[in-house]
Assembly symmetry: D2
Homo-oligomer: 294 residues x 4
């Protein structure tokens, strides 16, 4: 059992705290929004009055925030949270942010002798709820091993990507590739349907052939092909298009930083940008299928 | 045991004939190029003097040609080959051609009471050699079942896509999607490497996450990540870029025919077109990785 | 004064006939739709009962139809119209169709000793009404010169592009480029506006710099920058997005025919395809600006 | 006559200094590289020993540097150059950098009561040499008017884009659009040539039609169409592809900052990135034409 300070109670944070509690950890939670904390009302976790309270005397601090600006503000901003964290505490940031932000905060933590890892997740809200998240970790391997039992309380895989920031890089490379094959799958399915093929039959064929990919296998974007995926529920739930859009923006930022060329990634970013501007920001990202319909 | 007339002895045709022979079938072969026939010199198959000879008194005719023009010329051209095929013979065209060509030839065959299916393959030269091809079939299901034992002599899967031409449509949908995730995988790997990640580590992470796809799983384009793939042999062997380019042209033709929108597929077509024009036409299609290198 | 048979009374055909009449020519018109002919009720031109009637005993036949299929059907279809046209008559097809269709029909006409030119137009409905069209001509230069006075009755420029079909190729090259700089202009204007710039100021700057192009100069897509353009009238009137979409499809067909690589053109085709599927097919093509709005 | 401190003696800076001198101004120059200063050996301008010397007691400071990092380092870095500039001096930064950098430096200057404008240029080395540059200005209009006579010594147009940073935004919007129509023109020309058209004839047709744009009009990328452009000199001279690549990276940075969607701009960035990685970074940007050749 560990004592954990958990910061950030959004759609991901709440089920993650739930799983930490279920696995016997003592959790102290905080969020800037009282309404967010209220979502945990019935769960016997400590509702801290401030971030500072939540991080006092804990074994681990976990943060799950929506942006690099929020992470920088939390740890480096006015409240100087790092000054309130003991060097014995391991800080785990699970937010998806830029590698630059991750490196910056880890470096500032290091100045105060605080160990920190970046551990963004793959798996979405469903994965957070089922406790089947994948954590992609940047930082010292030894720190990752120390964090592993805690992370395994919330997920299934913990993988080391490299140094500080590498978890973030691997995460956005993955999500850029995901966006590319999701759109590619949607186009291929529609092209087949436009030629009279049954999308189920075509999906099965491509899954047994070289077109196979995660989008097609577990998250088919064409309505009616798979049960229990967002495509079957008017694209409600799942991983919102605006979050994919955010990750693609991070990917493009990363590509600019190293002058990497990513034509498919850039086109995916454009298409999700247009999709969101068109009123689909809250729909699951597989709703890109709708664009190709006649 | 069946008697089979096999037309077209290219890189795919030769190993396919080999596997038919190994599985006990009697094969009569023909190719317009004597040099192609010479490749089968040592194999005790009948070298026919003409396509007409090869298709006389056989249970099945199989054709494996490089283009729709070649297929139309063979069956509908000057030699009027269809007039030399018995209605008892089932014609199996394994070439990758446009759905329009496939439908046209099948319709002309039907006028002469000859049953025909389109059965383009997935799996490449390696699949042809190992006898592990996937056949994607368009035409009557009963005809496919009749052809199944023959096809299973050369492959592992036989899947029904729909009516005449549907095999072709499914094949090019699949290959368009393959091109999309191959390029996407190459971009993602290079983006990670540019940020200091190890391509093996990043590949493993994405294979256990939502970026997973066939290119990454069985055909990693980054040199040094997987043994025994073209990326490890200077992109020699495998599925040539010019063949992917051809399939993408077929996909774009299909998209124009139905006014389908395929932004990712169109970009993939442009990138493979540029890649081939740049002198890489003979390299394996995973060589697209080279373009992204710094 | 010439005697002219005019076939095809759509949005372009009607004002073209008007200008022919105004310039003193004797015009015999026909359209498959009686309603189309009715639009010319008050104009003292001969309403023929059939295409055959319209082309009998004329100096020139002019056709202005919506597609290659329509042109092939008119000249080569069941009514065998070419058999009803005298070798003394010069046939001018002003439709925008594929080069292949244009060549085919011209070749069939040549078999009957009938001279034909392809003369697609640039300038849209406004140009047809003002008599300021540009004709881009493929075929014999001598035939173009013979046609010139007639074409100048409807336009301002007559330019020779090359052999039969070359008029069509030049037209679609031009329109592909137009689509590219229209979208590019829309993106650049929105990017500036998103950063707080005044779209008028930015337009002026780019018009005096290297970003200058026809879209920006005469057809600014950002509402409020120029008076009397579709952007100022909710994108009503002008050149409909679906017509641009059609021309981009022709451009892609042409690119496939010669295995030319056109990444920008292909992306433009995708974006106009999505735009039309999204309910904007009837709006002027500068309405692509709307997609980029926040 | 004014006294001017000029910092940055690259390919642009040297001819700009030349023109300032020719127009009777007293110029004090500095560059971090002695070799750069040496290029002005024969010109009777003052070679300062440091940036601080160059900016002492002058009416204007002009900087022309290769990147935002260089500009920030110059004005805000270790030497604290702003502390050595009198509030009576007007600072004109002609570098092409991000709007963020431009705003930051201007704000820091304002803290020291120093007026500053951003005035990036359009026109390239040729424009710098001929004194025909266009200056696109961000900052106070009054400051621009004060700078106008100096700028007109080096150019032909001075245009106000808006507030601090707006000059940079307008410049990169323009250059993004330029890249888009340059590539579009190259594609259209090659598509025509692939269909047998003469590139001169096609260029003339498009220049009189709606495809018209600056690239086609003054900088035709197809070899042999225009004299005295880089296309006629193996793409030597002119505006290097790597500089276009840099500007497109700035455009993408700007698009990410405001979450603007620029599909054409993003594709242009990818294509120039690939072009540069392929060994063409030093060639004029119209060399993108080469990629489309068969």
């Amino acid at each position: 059992m560990a004592v954990i300070g958990f910061l950030g109670l959004g759609n991901m944070g709440v089920p993650m705290v739930n799983n930490l509690y279920k696995n016997g950890h003592l959790v102290k939670v905080f969020d800037l929004l009282p309404a967010a904390i209220a979502k945990l009302e019935r769960l016997p976790v400590t509702k801290s009055a401030s971030a500072m309270d939540a991080v006092a005397n804990v074994d681990f601090v976990i943060s799950m925030l929506p942006s690099g600006a929020a992470v920088e503000d939390l740890y480096l901003g006015g409240s100087a949270l790092l000054s309130h964290i003991s060097p014995k505490t391991l800080v785990i940031d699970c937010s998806t942010i830029s590698a630059e932000s991750a490196k910056l905060v880890a470096a500032k933590a290091a100045e105060k002798k605080i160990a920190m890892i970046d551990a963004p997740v793959s798996g979405g809200i469903a994965g957070a709820e089922k406790g089947s998240l994948t954590f992609i970790v940047g930082g010292e391997q030894a720190d990752m091993e120390k964090a592993r039992p805690i992370l395994m309380s919330m997920g299934q895989f913990v993988m080391h990507a490299g140094d500080h920031g590498a978890g973030q890089v691997a995460k956005i490379c993955n999500n850029m590739l995901l966006a590319v094959h999701m759109i590619g799958s949607a186009e291929a399915l529609q092209l087949g349907v436009d030629h009279g093929l049954d999308p189920k039959v075509l999906s099965n064929i491509m899954l047994r052939s070289s077109g196979k990919n995660w989008s097609l296998e577990t998250y088919n974007p064409y309505p009616g092909v798979m049960p229990d995926v967002p495509a079957g529920k008017d694209y409600q739930g799942g991983f919102m298009s605006k979050l994919m859009d955010k990750d693609l923006n991070l990917a493009m930022d990363a590509a600019l930083a190293t002058e990497s060329t990513t034509p498919m990634g850039a086109l995916a970013r454009s298409l999700y940008g247009l999709h969101c501007k068109d009123g689909n920001a809250e729909l699951d990202f597989s709703s890109i299928q709708k664009r190709f319909k006649k």
